[in-house]
Point group: C2
Chain length 225, copies 2
């Protein structure tokens, strides 16, 4: 068996005692029957629990419904896909030939599932506190950025409100391209704000998700300098 | 503050270091703003994670989708309500006067929420492994009874198939009564199998849930003696 990639373990901030668990977490069902689908089930529960506990601690003033909304925003496919991209998980995935050729290593659903699987593998390898430490490490910037006052609103809305309050024109979204097969495409979108000479990009499993990611990048540059 | 009930702690198999957390878990929103809603949010995540991990370990041959179905059956309102009833949680609840008068202490949703809150409180008090031990203790019989071959089927279907395969007549379900106000009733139903002289009872938040509980009790008596 190929050994689990050291670079990835370094970026996770966690060294596996049983690197074969990380290998399995990186194995898509198109590659082997010993794939990451069960680990993804496990990791999904671990991620929900850890993020829930972190939000509970961090926001003692928020009610249950607000905590649920914040959690849903953090554990869905898009942030997991973005984190996987930051960690360069795609390079380490084991995919069947068809998936490999159709760009599976960059597909949001495959990458998000692999992130959950990695958490499941860490939980098996070293227990709940180890998985918690990884989540804390990977989600640190996203947790720090949470603004309970605005987090119910999506990034496109926040960006538009910010621009309108300053009498700037609306942003333009442009589809830059898609990759992957029809049923599982990845979209890349640009967000341009002409008056400010700003352009950002975002990617996602739908055009809408990619627009949100691009708007998020623009909003962060403008509103949180 | 009244001290957290020792009898309940004994039945949970867990002694709280900070009994005020258990008090809060038993406090309904109708009683105080310092209620159990945030603990319920926390406990829901803990319960999902623990049950997921227990199923993952116990059924190494099951796929992700089957594990998800088994988990959904274990962590929904009905089993939590039944466990809360076994533990006599209702007697320890702190409810506002209106809820108390309308039978809130026996209402499935309030009791199920309190069970999740208790798990959240235990997690805060002593960490993940302590919460895991409580879940293992409370769900022991339900985990032992899981039959992956049949668990997709509901109890009424299983009971009917068991009776038909032995040429017995169908069971009769009878509504014994309801309690609580219109929007939040608890139903009690009897399941009678005339040919076998067997009658069981079940309760739930709907007539259907109560019938399922009664059928489950009958099926256990017949098929798993």
């Amino acid at each position: 068996m190929v050994h689990a990639p050291d670079a990835l373990q370094a970026r996770l901030g966690f060294a596996f005692t049983r690197p074969e668990l990380l290998e399995q977490a990186l194995t898509h069902r198109s590659y082997s029957v010993a794939n990451n689908e069960r680990l993804e089930f496990l990791g999904d529960g671990v991620l929900n629990c850890v993020v829930g506990a972190l939000l509970y601690e961090r926001f003692p003033e928020l009610r249950e419904g607000q905590l649920s909304r914040l959690r849903a925003n953090l554990v869905n496919q898009q942030p997991l896909y973005e984190i996987a991209t930051e960690l360069d998980v795609g390079r380490h995935l084991r995919l069947g030939e068809g998936e490999l050729k159709s760009g599976g290593a960059g597909r949001p659903s495959i990458l998000a599932d692999a992130m959950e699987s990695i958490l499941g593998a860490a939980f098996l390898d070293a227990g709940f506190d180890a998985a918690r430490a990884i989540v804390l490490h990977l989600f640190a910037s996203r947790l720090a950025e949470i603004d309970p006052a605005t987090h119910g609103k999506d990034a496109k809305t926040l960006l538009q409100e910010w621009l309108q309050s300053r009498k700037h024109g609306l942003p333009q979204y442009e589809l830059l391209g898609t990759s992957g097969q029809a049923h599982a495409q990845t979209f890349r979108v640009a967000c341009r704000i002409g008056a400010l000479g700003l352009a950002t990009e975002g990617a996602g499993a739908s055009r809408k998700a990619a627009e949100q990611a691009a708007a998020q990048a623009a909003y962060q540059r403008l509103a949180r300098p």
